[in-house]
């Protein structure tokens, strides 16, 4: 028994090492006083300084923040409604419609959205098209989280509210919304995280002109991998990590909800 535990622990350690060592290296070399990601020379904040003087990078960051904020707000509103509807009306099709973008390969979603924008909507690609695209795939995540929160709740609470004199709207904003709020906020943070570092769908639905952060990073790597890329990656990592930690703190069912979809 003890022996088996020991082996399990080694396997687990190796898996985590495999996952996290590259990330640790990226972070470490963002402080390396050398142009090359090859050997450790000394500590510096020079690359962060360069980053903050890089106009295009700042514009890309601003664009990405705008997209992530807009998409997460839209996706949270729509996803919450979808989650409530899935829980309330036991329709078989609804969960499939709402949740399939979560499971669809990103490349497929990207291509189909591109075709949809160009051929059906006749939309000029740009910030708007990216926001719509990101909203599309974030709705499913919010819906999953909201529904998993509702599943653990006693439905008679909502009937009691109506019974005691609350209109459907009063019932929603006095009872339902406060009770699902942790899930709604968690869903919003999750959407923000998914949106800000999305590459594939953004790549297909972006226009020419405005730089977007993940695409910008990719472009930089194509020319040369400078520690500036490490620096921006580190910052991005910190931001998403913070979001996920807050999300899981708010609703411990967030991660479980994702698995049980």
């Amino acid at each position: 028994m003890r022996n088996r535990n020991f082996r399990l622990r080694i396997v687990a350690t190796l898996v985590y090492a495999f996952l996290y060592i590259p990330l640790v290296i990226v972070v470490a070399y963002s402080f390396n006083n050398s142009r090359l990601n090859a050997e450790w020379v000394g500590f510096t904040l020079f690359w962060y300084e360069t980053l903050f003087n890089n106009k295009e990078m700042l514009v890309a960051a601003r664009n990405s923040l705008i997209i992530a904020l807009s998409a997460s707000i839209l996706a949270t509103a729509l996803g919450t409604m979808a989650g409530l509807a899935i829980h309330r009306y036991k329709l078989k099709v609804l969960p499939i419609i709402v949740l399939s973008p979560v499971a669809t390969p990103e490349i497929l979603l990207g291509v189909s959205l591109l075709l949809f924008f160009l051929q059906v909507l006749n939309l000029t690609l740009g910030m708007i098209s990216i926001i719509i695209a990101h909203t599309t795939f974030c709705i499913g995540f919010v819906a999953i989280i909201v529904r998993s929160r509702l599943q653990g709740m006693d439905w008679s609470i909502f009937e009691a509210a109506r019974d005691l004199g609350a209109s459907p709207w009063q019932c929603f904003h006095l009872i339902t919304l406060p009770l699902i709020m942790p899930a709604v906020v968690a869903g919003a943070l999750m959407s923000f995280t998914l949106s800000i570092d999305d590459f594939v769908i953004t790549f297909f639905t972006k226009g020419v002109g405005e730089p977007i952060l993940p695409i910008q990073i990719y472009t930089m790597i194509k020319t040369a991998v400078t520690p500036e890329v490490n620096a921006i990656s580190t910052l991005l990592m910190l931001l998403t990590l913070a979001m996920i930690i807050i999300a899981t703190k708010l609703d411990s069912g967030v991660l479980r909800g994702e698995v049980s979809r």
Binding site: S156, I157, A160, R162, D163, A166
Partner: protein, 361 residues
């Protein structure tokens, strides 16, 4: 005019008829109970009165007005749910104040009425607690207070005592009756526990498979059940298959196969030759040791087959000569006495004619 009138209400779910052509009239101030096994349609009926479900046909009138088109929040009817359904994000005071807030009462009035209500249910010190910090009995009292605070015309109670343990249940039953009398609100109480229904209600409607089997006062339901279902569902009962030998205005003479003749009170519409069931409650059956001299008319010989001691009383199961087993109940009024008879003892049983009832098939 009756307070609540349920007229020819039917509700089906697919092929299943949950409520079948039910007619019930409830008067103001009554403690009315819907009693029946699970799946008998009592909760469905309650949900239709509250407004969470609609009948397929029939009417529900409150003060003579059809309320079927009115949404639950507009009906002057409140519900106490089985799970209590307290709002987990609101304090005790917040929960109790909720109906008043929804009714648009002024903050001063809300405050004083909540205070009064908290005193009524002895929860003044718990006003700022959240539901998860309360015991089962306390949650229960909050649910009652919340249901009653805005003086509904009708309070519906859906098995509200179901989740409590036996001791607390008994305490809450007394509290419930007191609350009803103080508030002067009409109660419609749903339960599957027959003793609870008998103890609390002014009148009981016994339901089975969506039908109302009998509506009457508890003592009438218990003493004069209308059919086999009511007789067997309410309390314990002995049943014997019988045939009518003689039917007069004063009595019925019945024949029990392998046992002999027995007499029961007369009943309208019974014909000679009818077959049916004779019922007699265990506490009405008298039991005595067998002796040749005592074996006179209406006394039946049997052997003690088994007994069950439950503290206050002992139930003896007596097997008669025709193989029928009759339960007889004896109070253990002598201190320390567990039983009067042993298994295998020869005994005689008898009962007063007017304690038994004949039921047509």
């Amino acid at each position: 005019m009756a307070l609540l009138e349920i007229r020819n209400v039917t509700r089906c779910f697919g092929d299943f008829t949950a409520v079948n052509n039910v007619n019930i009239t409830i008067e103001t101030g009554e403690f009315f109970t819907l009693l029946g096994p699970s799946g008998c349609g009592k909760t469905t009926l309650l949900r239709m009165i509250a407004g969470f479900d609609l009948p397929d046909s029939g009417q529900i009138l409150l003060d003579g007005i059809n309320i079927l088109g009115i949404p639950p929040e507009k009906r002057p009817i409140h519900t106490v749910f089985q799970s209590y359904a307290l709002f987990p994000h609101m304090t005790v005071a917040g929960n109790i104040a909720f109906p008043l807030k929804m009714a648009g009462k002024m903050p001063d009035e809300i405050k004083s009425r909540v205070k009064e209500s908290l005193e009524n249910v002895r929860l003044t010190n718990f006003a700022d607690r959240f539901p998860h910090e309360l015991s089962g009995g306390q949650k229960q009292r909050v649910a009652f207070a919340r249901g009653l605070i805005n003086h509904p015309r009708l309070l519906l109670l859906d098995e509200p005592l179901g989740a409590l343990d036996a001791k607390l249940r008994e305490e809450m039953q007394i509290e419930l009756v007191n609350l009803q009398q103080e508030a002067g609100v009409t109660f419609v109480f749903v339960t599957h526990a027959q003793n609870e229904a008998l103890a609390l209600s002014h009148r009981i409607a016994v339901m089975n498979h969506g039908n109302v089997e009998q509506i009457d006062q508890p003592s009438k339901i218990y003493s004069f059940p209308r059919n086999r279902f009511v007789a067997s569902f309410i309390g314990k009962t002995n049943m014997m298959d019988v045939q009518v030998l003689e039917a007069t205005s004063s009595h019925l003479k019945l024949i029990v196969a392998g046992l002999g003749e027995i007499t029961t009170p007369s009943k309208e519409g019974v014909q000679v030759g009818d077959s049916g069931t004779m019922i007699i409650r265990p506490e009405q059956v008298q039991i005595q040791p067998y002796s040749k001299e005592a074996e006179v008319k209406d006394h039946f010989r049997g052997i003690v087959h088994d007994y069950l001691y439950v503290g206050d009383v002992t139930t003896y199961i007596v097997e008669l000569v025709n193989g029928i087993r009759i339960e007889a109940l004896l109070p253990n009024s002598t201190p320390g006495r567990v039983k009067f008879f042993e298994v295998g003892d020869s005994v005689l049983i008898t009962w007063r004619h007017d304690a038994s009832t004949f039921l047509n098939d």
